[in-house]
Point group: C2
Chain length 346, copies 2
Amino acid sequence: MANVTTVPEVLTRARDLVVPAMRRSIDMLNPQLRSIAAYHLGWEDAKGESTGSDGGKGVRPALALLSAEAMGARGEYGLPGAVAIELVHNYSLIHDDVMDVDRERRHRPTVWAVFGIAQAIIVGDALAALAQQIVLDPRLLVADGQVLEGHQAALLLADATAKMIAGQSQDMEFEGRGHVSFDECLAMEAGKTGALLGCAAAIGAVLVNAPMTTVGALDRFGVELGLAFQAVDDLLGIWGDPKTTGKPSWSDLRQHKKSLPVTAALSSGESGVEELLELLAIEQLSERQIERCAELVERLGGRDATNELADTRLLLALDALDEAEILDDARRQFIEIAHFVVERQF
Amino acid sequence: MANVTTVPEVLTRARDLVVPAMRRSIDMLNPQLRSIAAYHLGWEDAKGESTGSDGGKGVRPALALLSAEAMGARGEYGLPGAVAIELVHNYSLIHDDVMDVDRERRHRPTVWAVFGIAQAIIVGDALAALAQQIVLDPRLLVADGQVLEGHQAALLLADATAKMIAGQSQDMEFEGRGHVSFDECLAMEAGKTGALLGCAAAIGAVLVNAPMTTVGALDRFGVELGLAFQAVDDLLGIWGDPKTTGKPSWSDLRQHKKSLPVTAALSSGESGVEELLELLAIEQLSERQIERCAELVERLGGRDATNELADTRLLLALDALDEAEILDDARRQFIEIAHFVVERQF
């Protein structure tokens, strides 16, 4: 597997197109909603002062632009898809932070922690509606956008959003019960994270009227990449460095998250599973108990299994990519992004 | 003005089509989300037992079906629009109840009061996504739905949803400040309530490819009707009988809602405005103070002005309807619905 340590050029290039388009989109909101969104995106502080930052690393929007280029079209034609997906992704983060009672994200207080739950709900709702408006009427962002297939793109996005929401709902249900199998967890994360990445990798192609077989292959590439990404994310959620993740140590264990490492450990059938189940049933875990959970998950093979899953799903993603009839240069960049996503430092 | 005391036949007829389609739609959700939605819609109790009820009076879906019939098409062709609007309307109710900390709706505990805030957020999100899926792919509900204009209908719905959200956001902002003018309040309610009713009155016509002028006229009819409806609703929110509204007496005053009667009173310029402003600035009003607010709003003309607004907006709605080129029989039914909406008992 190639070792990519630098940020792929395509991400930087995508950002140059996506950041101004995101700003134009957010400016369509009313002033109250706009300023909360600008806070969440890292553009402004809680007082509305500019931070000089333009937010996130933008894997999703880069995939969206690339999937238009992959069909020989201008990357700009993927822009309505890229922005819509960023909006949906950020709406889900804002709502998830309320639902998970997370007070911090990206080293900053979350929207609800600053502005309250009501504002977090309404700004999330606003971003979701804005995403649909933009993908349905690509002319809002692309001057000659009437040639773009907004209808099919909107359907792809709505389907992915529905799957993402169902995944989040399952995730919440998992927290409330004892045993969750590794397969159940995988299915949940295919929805929660995979669906939107699949949409990202295909939406640009849909906008420029790509054939269904290629759209399907790109979508599968993104879903598998999403699972690989999520495996890495779940590892970071337990063993990630708080300085890098911006979350407390063993964050997912504190929240009783039945993540991939935990469910892999629970499905191991080895001695220690009972102790782990008992610990996870305790409502308020002490620091010692949380540390013990992390030890048990590792000893029961949860960490190794999740590392392995990341590798397998990356290979499945690359297999799916092979089936897409796309330009070679785009294929190379898709592969670069895939490696970058899975090889995040922690 | 005709005095319509019975429920228009079109509402009953619409319900026969919409209720089964709503059930089929809600069944597309995963089991957790489905059962919470079924609770909210009044179909099931909190334990998942059937209540034998099929929910709401369904003015919005009736308008949607009628607007397809108005163009000479089958009412069924308006069904994806009718269901999508019901879903958006209910998603907004579920989220609004969290934001407004309302524990009761339609004589029952609200979703968040039963299932918690996290579940209320996610089920609302799920209904919003489902609405878009259904309008974008009308074949989900109508066998020969591929002839329908799902793209334009989805755009109309997304625009209306965005306006509704902006209206709710303004409404929340109003609660936090002292003076809100009558015009500001009217603009807010045009978004919060008018937009979705406008969409309802036009979406069936859009689905069957009606000309833009008629779509525009029907939309205006719905927006104006929405304002008339909201005027009545705001009167009920203060002076409505708790037995009928399912909410405590003077409910909107308890919440410091800057509703139409309150803002009309505040804009009256008469003596008493200062006292009302001072009362509304008190965070926790006593029962005596709430009663005094209601007295002041009435004495300052807020009740009369809102009654008058309901009449004016009804006339404007009927004017807009005159401009729509639609079948006479549908026009008669639109008028029936309009009177029914404004002449609710209280």
